[in-house]
């Protein structure tokens, strides 16, 4: 196997850092170029060259062209407007950044493989959606926010795919990530003291464990290159109400007319973009058969297990399993005593 030279964008964020570290451990990887516009919290391992630059800068173009990069892993699409410094900057980074990166990649002579980390958010969340999305189903374009950015990014990547037929393009649409360390708007939502929900709705959610995120990215980057678009999520689904109970938090149902103002509050505290409120109302489930069959990837963690792991390692539960079990046992013991006293006394031939 030829020594691999891999470029990773969004490398300073949590997923990026873990992927870069995992890639650096692989013997077949000769070099990793880690790109981000901000410094990583800890320095990268030896094989890694950190490029402190925005995707839109000419330094990136030079790096892609000159470093003999054979694989480009694009993780740099962000769902967090507040962290990016506003929705405009986020859109600018997501969409323009991707365009610049692809423009540079178009002229990279050694490039053979492009991996895009996308999201199941491209499908949107609506009551009229099919229950389970496959990659080939047509979907309405989400009209704003992260979902819209993700679709535009995918569109640019597809047009790149047509122009550079010698490059294998793999698009991974990941479900919401949870785990002991990953930090995103949804994990912050479950870390709130109470979880606001839309009254009268209980969406189906899918989760992907952060270890599986790295596993699928490694598989797509280092394994045999597979062309196509793949949904990636843990098996099974978790209802929002169920997730909140597993998290041991009290839910706070908000009537639909008031949802707008609470959403604004959520936007400020956990950095939700508006379409994610729709996600908490209608949910979304994606089919992962294609990833299993064509990419050969099956997640190790099911959606419920991934969420349980996240809840066990990160959340301070208000309602614990021990409490509930104790209350149940005591209620039952009281009932049994009462029944023994009443029932035993009235039974014909019973001890009187």
């Amino acid at each position: 196997m030829m020594a691999r030279r891999i470029l990773v964008t969004g490398a300073a964020r949590s997923t990026g850092r873990r992927l870069v570290a995992a890639l650096a451990e692989e013997p077949e990887v000769a070099a990793v170029v880690a790109v981000d516009h901000r410094e990583p919290p800890a320095p990268f391992p030896a094989k890694v060259e950190f490029l402190d630059t925005d995707l839109r800068s000419p330094a990136l173009v030079k790096a892609v062209e000159s470093a003999g990069i054979d694989t480009c892993v694009h993780l740099g699409v962000s769902a967090e407007p507040l962290a990016a410094g506003g929705r405009t900057t986020m859109k600018e980074r997501n969409v323009m950044g991707t365009m610049q990166l692809l423009a540079a990649a178009y002229h990279a002579p050694d490039l053979r493989h492009l991996v895009l980390k996308s999201t199941t958010a491209v499908y949107g969340s609506a009551p009229g959606d099919p229950a389970v999305w496959t990659e080939s189903m047509p979907f309405d374009t989400p009209r704003h926010g992260f979902g819209k950015d993700a679709i535009q990014v995918e569109d640019y990547v597809r047009s790149f795919d047509r122009r550079r037929s010698d490059v294998t393009v793999t698009v991974l649409r990941l479900a919401n990530q949870v785990g002991p360390t990953v930090d995103n708007p949804l994990t912050r939502y479950f870390e709130l003291p109470v979880c606001p929900t839309v009254f009268g709705f209980d969406p189906r959610l899918q989760f992907l464990h952060e270890q599986d995120t790295i596993r699928v990215l490694l598989r797509a980057t280092l394994g045999p290159a597979v062309h196509g678009t793949f949904n990636v999520a843990g098996d099974g689904v978790v209802l929002l109400s169920q997730a909140i109970r597993i998290a041991g938090k009290p839910p706070l149902p908000i009537p639909e007319p008031l949802v707008g103002s609470v959403a604004e509050l959520l936007r400020r505290t956990v950095d939700f973009s508006p379409e994610q409120v729709g996600f908490l109302q209608y949910g979304r489930v994606a089919d992962t058969t294609t990833a299993r069959e064509q990419l050969g990837f099956s997640p190790k963690w099911s959606s419920p297990h991934a969420f349980e792991d996240f809840a066990a390692s990160r959340l301070r539960k208000l309602v614990t399993q021990e409490q509930v079990t104790t209350v149940e046992r005591e209620a039952l013991a009281t009932l049994r005593r009462a029944a023994g006293w009443l029932g035993g006394g009235t039974r014909p031939g019973g001890a009187r």
Binding site: P130, V132, G200, R204, R245, I246, L335, R336, A339, G344
Partner: protein
Amino acid sequence: MTAQEPSRCQALTARGERCRNPAGPGGLCALHRRRLEAAAATEAGNGADPGALAPFLAWAEEALEFLRRRLLGEYTVDEFGHDPDLVEHVLAPLLRPLYRHWWRVEVRGLEHVPDEGPALVVGNHAGALPFDAMMVTLALLDEHPARRSLRVLAADLAFTLPVVAPLARKSGNTLACSEDAERLLEAGELVGVFPEGYKGLGKPFRDRYRLQRFGRGGFVGVALRTGAPIVPVAVVGSEEIYPMVLNLRRLARLFGFPYFPVTPTFPLLGPLGAIPLPSKWVIEFCPPIPTADLGHEAMLDPMVVFDLTDQVRDTIQQTVHKNLLGRRGVFA
């Protein structure tokens, strides 16, 4: 914490089936472990003998165990949101009195519904609220030997209304679209469809037992593509639960509803008027119509689709008429 599926409880339920609860220490779920402990305690003479109250105690035990599971989120729903635990312990017990005592549902032809594997159950639809779909579902769950869960394809409105939307999914329904229907059938599920839709539910009382147009035959296309047999089901009784004399179209439009029914009692008597009338119900499943042997060309031929649609509709219409004649009176 491991990533593996949790193992299931080793005990048998009262119905003699394998318990579906996740197992704890000793290979038993919390409920069965406690039962075992209680039995041991009684035998040792420590626990008081509940005597005549034993059935109540068993019920309370199961109810408490259910509450514990719900509070801790220890249950599984499928990818469509179907929650069998909730159906078994809450939703079905709520509907059962209506089924048994209010409408005294009589079921025929259950042998035409397969014990396993896919089938498309197609029925007539009437009565302002989709009680007929719920009763057909309950008939299959309670009276079919294989206790099959019918996965009903419901109108989009069911998934936009608060409170209704999650209940619709949890009770096993999903949106009426060919993607969902085919996915369920390919998974070997029993799928229910009421092709008259709002036209059937919202038709005036004078049109009772006259079946409306059967959509555009989309259900036939689904059956042909998946090779699932079609089982027509004729429901008698649902037409009289809310005798709709008037449809306030403007008011309906205001609320975003497909129709706004006026019955002799509703909205005149307010919420009391919304109590359905206790008509006598007969649900008959008809012999299945196979589609697997029609071949691949059939689904491209609109004539085949039209013919099959008419065949299903006629079967249901005739069975409805036959059972109407056999019924002694509307409320008998």
